[in-house]
Amino acid sequence: MRVEKDIIVLRPDGLHARPAAELVKQMKQYESNIHIIYKDTKIDGKSIIQLMKLSVKQGEMLKVEIEGDDADEVAAAIERFLSSE
């Protein structure tokens, strides 16, 4: 299964080092391959090294590409995480 989705970051703290660490911990629990695309850069959603350089402010948009049996769950989890206020 493959899911592609645009997600707007709603959390007031955006996505930087600390939330990135929380997100990576969640993503590692899933089977799917997860990629996040931001400003023409595609990163592995399970890599803290790659995620921690993302500095995404509230209101900006990311694209996620997820491939795997639990892709729907992953998409929902990412959306929930990035939307939390």
């Binding site: 080092a17 600390r18 660490a21 929380e22 990576v24 911990k25 590692k28 931001y38 400003k39 850069t41 890599s47 803290i48 090294i49 921690m52 350089k53 993302l54 500095s55």
Partner: protein, 131 residues
Amino acid sequence: MSRYVGLVLISHSYDLAYGLKMIASQVEPDVPIAIAGGTEDNDIGTSVIKIKEAIESVYSDKGVILFFDLGSALMNAELAIDMLGNPQNVKIADAPLVEGVYAAAVESGCGADLEEALKVAEQTRLLEKKI
């Protein structure tokens, strides 16, 4: 046995090591992290004794990764490991201090083993900070 790989942060400055521990512990409060900052008098420098005690305080079968700030700390880190009888599961990371510790803390907190956490920490050498 601890569930997590332990980390030792070695810096020539106590304050630097302490500050970095605060950052890493905020993200991963459960990962054992010890600091060895400054000389025994807390002057600028490093201390074999401090490093040795820091390793012992976070040691488990899961292993320990040492991080250091500047090259001259490496010799004392090696000496401290030597004093402990060269345990195979105590490794020194060749990595930037802040990024390496941060990445290792997250990996350790996710349950990574010693080799995995060390690998990810050392990959931060290649990290471009800006997209």
